[in-house]
């Protein structure tokens, strides 16, 4: 992750080329002048997503209203050979929706129709610009909700969730976006509108819905999304346990999982993260805690009651010196307030910080935290730790002051070293923020050339010309002409003189 303003990527772009001017004219005629932006000042408001130190001004912005308009934009791009990038709410943390300087940014903020809420089918069909939490709001009157709940759920879009395969605190039990999307209408990178999956499961053929979710906008643009609605749980119980050390909190997590309990969420914060949260939102966590654990159980009342007692006992057995049980929704919200504010809260204890996102096997938690601590001591860079402990997803917050000479570089080095630790322990370089532009260079540490080449076979099937969100996910693009099979005779294009074999 790039750490400072100095190292930020900033492409201002130049005056529109003839290709872009012609494309703008065509798009204005196809979808309406008011839905195409070409003014430099206006374009600059779209120059970054949630990862603000990468900035690129797009050549054009298009704001289609529906699938047909989106298809018109993509078709025009494909015919002009102009790259395009889809963007939802722009809350992504890996630069996945960073614009392309010579490309069109397709913003889905005008595609916010809730097409159907069908509790009888346990499905909702929504446009990509619909906000995550709005799906739950629409389903609540029927006793249902939309389970994936990224921390940004009040502002992030379903289209962005599909691109990133978003998770959330409760994905330990309920899974990720990929487990909750059953159908998609996709504008393929050549402009063709394709229906994949539907309301029913197991559509015949390849699971292209599964392949598309999490592909970070590189396989086309989703314009309608069919999601599962989940029955709202009868009971939810939440406890907050305070431990003297992170090791004890880790042991409690392991004990809970080993007992066969699958909590809805297990979240952990270390002392520095607690300090920051207290400074920011005065969440009133127990004083003197080296770590706090938030454990939430949900489901049928009798199950929650039986398992909650067990969880409470396991926390005490592993050294919890204080356990608070949320008496009502307000108290539960207070427990979560500290956790959910943690990222922003570190701003109270440090002028600058990097939010890292890595995954390790849950059982490696104590070892990896000791190694992170050592990195911190050796570099003099403080690291606050916040994690989805249940599934081993770390969010170390690397703190620095960029006005101190060399500190930004050292923070950057610590942040990268944490990802190396994740790989060393058999984990992943990203659990939920995505690869985007930010981590493409780390992909080769986790995967071989052959692995990445194989993934790009899928890319080539969808997007042979590499126009859909190019430069994201993969460190080097694959030239799709190179089909790795046997060659039989002369390729027709070669024969006709259109193409040559190099």
């Amino acid at each position: 992750m790039s750490a400072s303003v100095e190292s930020s990527t900033s492409v201002q772009g130049s005056a529109a080329t003839p290709v872009i001017q012609a494309l703008a004219t065509r798009l204005r005629s196809d979808i309406g002048g008011e839905r195409v932006i070409s003014d430099r000042q206006e374009l600059r408001t779209y120059e970054c997503d949630g990862l603000a130190h990468y900035r690129v001004t797009p050549a054009l912005v298009a704001l289609p209203q529906d699938t047909a308009q989106c298809a018109a934009v993509v078709t025009a791009c494909a015919e002009a050979g102009v790259p395009f990038v889809a963007r939802g709410s722009g809350t992504g943390l890996s630069g996945g929706a960073l614009p392309h300087a010579e490309g069109v940014l397709i913003v889905t903020s005008q595609m916010r129709r809730m097409i159907d809420v069908a509790p009888d089918d346990e499905r909702a069909v929504v446009e990509p610009g619909v906000i995550n939490l709005q799906v739950t709001r629409a389903a609540e009157p029927y006793g249902y909700y939309y389970a994936p709940d990224p921390s940004s759920q009040q502002v992030c879009s379903i289209g962005g969730n599909v691109a990133e395969n978003s998770g959330g605190a409760h994905c330990l039990k309920y899974g990720f976006t990929a487990n909750h999307v059953t159908g998609l209408t996709v504008v393929a990178p050549d402009g063709e509108v394709v229906e994949l999956g539907g309301r029913a499961p197991d559509a015949p053929g390849y699971d292209l819905v599964g392949a598309f979710v999490g592909s970070e906008g590189t396989l086309g643009v989703a314009t309608e999304v069919t999601v599962r609605l989940t029955r709202a749980p009868e009971a939810v119980r939440t406890l907050l346990a305070a431990f003297r050390t992170i090791d004890e909190a880790g042991a409690a997590t392991s004990a809970i999982i080993a007992a066969g309990v699958v909590p809805a969420a297990v979240e952990m914060m270390d002392a520095l993260a607690i300090e920051a949260a207290e400074a920011a939102v005065a969440c009133g966590y127990p004083a003197g805690a080296g770590a706090v654990l938030i454990v939430e159980l949900d489901g049928p009342e009798p199950e929650v009651v039986a398992q909650f007692d067990q969880v409470e006992r396991l926390c005490r057995d592993t050294g919890a010196f204080e356990i608070r049980i949320a008496a009502d929704d307000a108290e539960r919200a207070l427990f979560w307030k500290g956790r959910k504010s943690a990222f922003a809260a570190v701003g109270r204890v440090s002028p600058d910080y990097i939010v890292q996102d890595g995954v390790i096997p849950r059982t490696a938690l104590p070892d990896v935290l000791r190694r992170i601590d050592r990195l911190s001591v050796e570099s003099g860079i403080r690291v606050a730790n916040v994690f989805h402990a249940g599934d081993g997803n770390l969010h170390p917050l690397v703190l620095f002051d960029e006005t101190v000479d060399g500190e930004a570089e050292r923070a950057e080095a610590v942040s990268g070293a944490i990802l190396d630790l994740c790989i060393e322990y058999g984990g992943s370089i990203t659990g939920e923020h995505g690869v985007g532009v930010d981590k493409a260079r780390y992909m080769l540490r986790m995967f071989t050339d052959d692995d990445l080449d194989t993934m790009q076979l899928l890319r080539c099937a969808f997007d042979p010309d590499g126009l859909s969100n190019p430069g994201k996910v993969f460190p080097t693009p694959r030239l799709c002409g190179e089909v790795p099979g046997r060659r039989k005779g002369v390729h027709p294009l070669q024969e006709s003189g259109v193409a040559e074999v190099f």
Partner: protein, 403 residues
């Protein structure tokens, strides 16, 4: 006699025997590699010699799909067996593809790969390739939801991995989802990493028999709307009339007892310690016709009604069974059912369901009915196939649209 193929890998290849047949098409060679590396060696030889390949596990579903357009080599995965790693604390297991589901279950206890096995003896690889599932898919999902990492030998012999050994991971494309249900047309899966679940300490089944599919539909809806959180909601509608509904509950002993009582009251049913004997099996025997339909939940009763009406109209024996709570129904017909009747039933199912496919049928039927029906996104699927297997050597013609 000199045989270039056998000479290339004498230790791993043998001439095919009389049983080495796929949907009526005999193979020339059989290979039984015992590692990913050996598999890659075999596949590279197949690529160099332009051999058409079908991957075979325990052969429990080898008669599914259409016959291969051509076939030279069967790659048998059963020597690729065993649990490589069971990280119990992380609820993850790394498993070789030829391991049987039963062997895996025995190794993983008191944890489990929460995928039911409709056909005994099936391998992990076959289960993934066919995306086979059973009643508990309602709670746990299917193989696609539980597969978190995969090792594949591509048709050109290159070994590739995606995913990893952690449940939460969004680095790169999820090729496991692409492989799941691909019927061996994109490559050979040698190793799978699965997310596991704890085995529940207690289970109970509540059953209720009703006269009409309409009543069954109402009961299914009432279970879904309740707070009992079933692991499975299954129906069985045999040819002799009546419909049986069975609901599986899993959890703590105290919790299950109360939830079973609640379900019993809801259904006016009976609590049993074990599921009924039809539970989790397909409603057909070898040689019969087996179909699978996916239907939106609100239309499950309609699909059941249509199947029963068609059975009466055509005067044939039809059994419908499946996950009414998840929208997946299996339909069984006797093997001697005339193809035009099968087509008639398929048409009626397809009018109500989002899709209905023939999984297995005798050649006389299979060759005269549209086994797949309309497939949305077929153009993209063909392009995926062309990228992974440009010479169409892996299970050619077995899958949708002639893939």
């Amino acid at each position: 006699m000199v045989d270039a193929v056998l000479d290339a890998l004498p230790d791993l290849l043998r001439p095919a025997g009389s049983d080495d047949v796929v949907a009526g098409v005999p193979a020339r060679y059989v290979a039984a590699p015992a590692s990913t590396e050996q598999t890659a060696e075999v596949v590279r030889v197949a690529a160099a010699q332009d051999l058409a390949v079908v991957v075979r596990g325990a052969a429990t579903k080898l008669d599914w799909g259409l016959p291969p357009r051509r076939l030279d080599l069967i790659i048998d995965t059963r020597r690729l067996s065993g649990v490589v790693e069971h990280a119990a604390g992380d609820l993850v297991a790394v498993v070789r593809a030829g391991t049987t589901m039963e062997e895996l279950a025995a190794k993983l206890a008191p944890q489990q790969l929460a995928v039911d096995v409709p056909l005994a003896g099936a391998t992990v690889g076959g289960t993934v390739a066919a995306n086979a599932s059973g009643p508990r898919r309602l709670l746990y999902g299917t193989a696609r939801d539980l597969l978190i990492g995969v090792t594949v030998v591509r048709p050109d012999g290159v070994v590739a991995r995606s995913g990893g050994k952690v449940v939460k991971n969004v680095a790169g494309y999820d090729l496991g989802k692409l492989m799941t249900g691909s019927s061996g047309t994109l490559g050979l899966v040698t190793e799978c990493v699965f997310r596991l679940h704890p085995l529940p300490p207690a289970t109970a089944v509540v059953v209720r028999r009703v006269d009409t599919v309409c009543e069954a539909g109402i009961l299914v809806t009432s279970v879904r709307r309740s707070q009992v959180v079933p692991s499975a909601v299954e129906v069985n509608a045999p040819p002799d009339g009546g419909v049986e509904l069975a609901v599986l509950l899993e959890g703590t002993p105290a919790g299950v007892e109360q939830r079973a009582a609640g379900t019993q009251a809801l259904l006016d049913g009976e609590v049993l310690p074990e599921p009924p004997d039809w539970w989790g099996g397909y409603p057909w025997q070898p040689g019969d016709i087996g179909m699978k339909a996916g239907v939106s939940l609100s239309r499950v009763p309609e699909a059941l009604t249509a199947a029963r009406a068609a059975a009466e109209r055509y005067d044939v024996s039809v059994t419908v069974r499946g996950s009414a709570g998840a929208g997946v129904l299996y339909v069984g017909l006797l093997g001697a059912t005339p193809p035009e009747v099968v087509t008639g039933l398929l048409d009626e199912l397809r009018a109500i369901c989002e899709h209905a496919v023939v999984l297995t049928a005798p050649p006389l039927v299979r060759d005269r009915v549209d086994v797949w029906g309309p497939v949305s996104g077929l153009g993209l699927m063909r392009r995926v196939k062309e990228q992974f297997d440009p010479d169409a050597r892996f299970a050619p013609g077995r899958f949708v649209g002639g893939i």
